[in-house]
């Protein structure tokens, strides 16, 4: 189980090589890389600043991996999430999963991302030509987690 929160960029090839190194049982690797778009909500994005909750972030990502490994035993999961100032085209997050066969690799990768979007304490702030704004949570992200039978209250008023 590997979790990293860092300001530096990451290299997909290096990360995947490390994840499956010396493990001949792996027959499938699935990866998701999230990147910074240059347009959000119809406005040009100049920069994006990512804040997180040190301590809780790592703990919540480890809990997400544990949940994935319980559903898909034998799966290995890597999460690398960047924080700090990012520009359009920059990489934000990497989730890589390994398994014997592709179905579990694909499913666990999607599950980890759906879970992360609503349960890991990261916040994005965008700078556009009209100023800075915190990115709003999406109801569709809560719905994505619901597909796995998990309830998310992330965007709900309370």
């Amino acid at each position: 189980m590997t979790v990293r929160v860092q300001t530096e960029d990451f290299d997909l090839t290096t990360e995947v090589a490390a994840l499956r190194a010396q493990n001949p049982k792996v027959g499938a690797v699935a990866c998701f890389v999230g990147t910074v778009r240059d347009i959000n909500e119809g406005e040009a994005v100049e920069t994006m600043e990512l804040e997180h909750y040190p301590g809780m972030t790592e703990k919540s990502l480890e809990a997400i991996i544990a949940a994935a490994r319980e559903r898909w035993p034998g799966t290995e999961v890597l999460i690398v999430h960047r924080v700090g100032k990012l520009m359009p085209l920059d990489q934000i997050v990497l989730v890589a999963t390994t398994s014997k066969h592709r179905a579990n690799a694909f499913a666990s990768c999607e599950f980890v991302m759906d879970y992360l979007k609503t349960q890991a304490p990261f916040w994005k702030k965008e700078k556009t030509e009209t100023g800075e704004r915190w990115v709003d949570a999406r109801v569709t992200d809560d719905e994505a987690l619901a597909r796995w039978g998990l309830e998310s209250m992330n965007s709900k008023k309370n």
């Binding site: 909750y53 301590g55 992360l116 979007k117 990261f122 915190w134 990115v135 309370n158």
Partner: protein
């Protein structure tokens, strides 16, 4: 009872601070009680921590709801819905 408070993102900006140590009075037993107790400060506190707003809460690094009981020395955090990934 002494507890640590942490605020993040838009909540941190609205309240003008990122953390503090507070001595909560008797009768403040849950995370929801702490939220209500902080609202008594008025102004941005009443507004930012008002009921009916999308506010996430954590106790000792675990996402929680208003009913979670606080313990001496625990760390309670308030922040907006998360938007990572």
């Amino acid at each position: 009872m002494k507890i640590q408070l942490k605020y993040f993102a838009s909540v941190r900006e609205a309240l003008g601070r990122s953390d503090e140590s507070v001595d909560v009075p008797e009768g403040i037993a849950t995370v929801g009680d702490v939220r209500a107790w902080l609202r008594v400060r008025g102004g941005v506190w009443a507004e930012t921590l008002a009921e009916g707003r999308a506010l996430r809460m954590a106790c000792n690094h675990v996402m929680t709801d208003a009913g979670t009981r606080i313990t001496d020395g625990c760390e309670v955090a308030f922040f907006p819905p998360v938007t990572g990934g």
